[in-house]
């Protein structure tokens, strides 16, 4: 049953050193504020899972908190490389980073299997490519009817899922809308979860009969963090700060500029550090 708490309490209570955590968000609704709290609390030796690790995971890696990353596309979308991730993979700085690499199709299926509590997912993929050579978790099964050989991937079952959503009602039900990615699957696949939200409402009110809702009893902690997805965005609340993503490239390129930025903006910051930026940039979102 969902429990409303502060961000620091939620991270303290739900995430421990050495655990596997998925902070999901497919461009939309990336849980930046929660991820920053993880950095402030210096949770170490993490295995981080995400289809599209972007700046937030670059920050976790650059701060030396990550042992292993499970992913399918690691870059700054439309901009270029994740320099901290590259520094870890290419130079072992600040520490070696183990990679388990998949395709998007595999990861999406693996989350779906996790939400279904299946041990693995079956899909038609990885034809004629090299990833199966370097990832022993890419295997296959034979269709018992057609004989077709299909690819498999282990289900994703994180210890903790962290997502950002739009609204929660007073009972702790959580609503997402727009580009919903794999967030619902991540929460359902995880053993516990933290959900940051833009807004608490008494009742969701009139809505689609098929609205994307996580019932209260599927969620661990709920934390009210307006602007908590910035520089990502929240459908109907604020837009993606594309300028921030473009600007990140220069910040993260060098170890020193990265460390200085993290100190000023994250380590010395708080859960509402970015709220003014999120809503300062508010447009007809």
């Amino acid at each position: 049953m969902a429990e409303f708490m502060s961000l620091s309490a939620a991270v303290e209570h739900h995430l421990r050193d050495g655990q596997t955590v998925a902070m999901e968000g497919f461009t939309h609704l990336i849980p930046y504020a929660a991820g920053h709290e993880v950095i402030r609390q210096v949770k170490r030796d993490l295995t981080i899972i995400r289809m599209t690790p972007d700046i937030l995971y670059d920050q976790l890696i650059g701060m030396g908190l990550v042992r292993k990353m499970v992913f399918s596309w690691g870059g700054n979308p439309g901009v270029g490389s994740l320099h901290r991730m590259r520094d870890a993979v290419e130079n072992g700085f600040p520490q070696r980073l183990e990679l388990e690499e998949h395709s998007h199709a595999a990861m999406a299926n693996a989350y779906e299997a996790g939400a279904s509590t299946l041990p693995f997912a079956v899909f038609r993929g990885y034809k004629g490519v090299d990833l199966p050579r370097v990832n022993p978790n890419i295997r296959s099964v034979t269709c018992p009817y057609s004989g077709e050989v299909l690819a498999t991937v282990p289900a994703i079952r994180p210890d903790v899922a962290i997502i950002h959503a739009l609204r929660a009602d007073r009972q702790g039900n959580v609503l997402l809308e727009g580009i919903v990615g794999v967030q619902k699957e991540a929460v359902l696949a995880a053993r516990s979860s933290i959900v940051t939200i833009e807004e608490i409402v008494d009742d969701f009110g009139p809505r689609s009969a098929n609205a994307v809702i996580l019932p209260s009893w599927t969620v661990g902690a709920i934390v009210h963090v307006p602007g908590g997805a910035y520089p990502s965005y929240a459908h109907g609340y604020y837009k993606r700060a594309n300028a921030f993503y473009i600007g990140w490239d220069a910040i993260a390129r060098e170890r020193e500029s990265f460390a200085a930025w993290m100190k000023a903006n994250v380590l010395d910051g708080s859960p509402d550090s970015f709220a003014s930026l999120a809503f300062g940039s508010r447009k007809s979102a």
Binding site: S81, M85, V89, E101, G178, R240, N242
Partner: protein, 254 residues
């Protein structure tokens, strides 16, 4: 009107698109080409981004695969597992776009790593949707600017499959999709040789010579018996594209 290498690449790609295409669109040149087609000769084209947006009509180009603009203008937006299961694997996409850091003469692509996988010189972003876009879409267009470190005789890593080791490779793996049918570059257009599936030049952009093409290519370039001349971008194509890019730049600087 003069134009850049990127502009002619984008415009040439857009010309091949029609109202009946269902396109799985990647960020960058593919997105520009698809939206240019939509704003010019193919207003009915269906654009799908892997973030889940079906039938989207952005007013500015997205910076990321999941900008709000894509969702706001879409027919509807599905979850990412559904996108990869029902829509891409479902075989409903007629045309996928790919780019990459490196390509070989059979249209195989590398976007994973330069050097050894376990000890890389350059760690690239990885495959993302590419491996299954390459196998599940009815056909694939590749858009890449030429340079000899990108157009390689042998790839260090195959992220997504084109024609494999040549004709028959796809069929041998049970694939019934066509794979890369066009490679659109800043200098020329490649298409697979019907006999070998090697990508050969079938049209050359205005002002480009065979020597210029070979200088940017790491394998010995072959040419079709009949090599066409790409019609130059029209003023109208350039105007629509530049207007789109200007709107986009303004929106993302905000």
């Amino acid at each position: 009107m003069t134009y850049s290498a990127t502009e002619i690449m984008t415009i040439v790609a857009s010309r091949f698109l029609t109202n009946s295409d269902i396109c799985f669109v990647g960020i960058g040149a593919p997105s520009a080409a698809c939206n240019l087609a939509r704003l010019t000769h193919a207003p009915g084209i269906t654009l799908i981004y892997e973030s889940g947006t079906l039938g989207t009509r952005p007013d500015v180009l997205p910076l990321s695969i999941g900008d709000g603009e894509l969702c706001d203008t879409a027919l509807t937006t599905v979850s990412v597992p559904e996108m990869f299961r029902y829509w891409l694997q479902g075989g409903r996409i007629t045309l996928g776009f790919l780019g990459g850091a490196q390509i070989d003469r059979f249209g195989n692509l590398n976007t994973t790593v330069v050097g050894d996988y376990g000890n890389p010189k350059v760690r690239l972003p990885g495959g993302g949707g590419a491996p299954e876009i390459a196998s599940s879409c009815g056909e694939v267009f590749i858009i890449m600017a030429m340079n000899p470190r990108a157009f390689m005789a042998k790839l260090p890593f195959i992220t997504s499959m084109g024609h494999g080791a040549g004709k028959g490779s796809r069929e041998a793996l049970g694939l019934s999709t066509k794979g890369p049918t066009r490679l659109i570059t800043d200098l020329c257009l490649f298409e697979p040789d019907p006999e070998t599936s090697e990508l050969i030049v079938t049209a050359i952009h205005p002002g480009v010579t065979r020597e210029m093409i070979q200088a940017q290519c790491g394998w010995p370039v072959r040419y079709a018996d009949q090599v066409g001349l790409t019609p130059a971008p029209t003023d109208s194509e350039l105007a629509v594209l530049r207007d789109l890019q200007a709107r986009t730049k303004q929106a993302h600087a905000a």
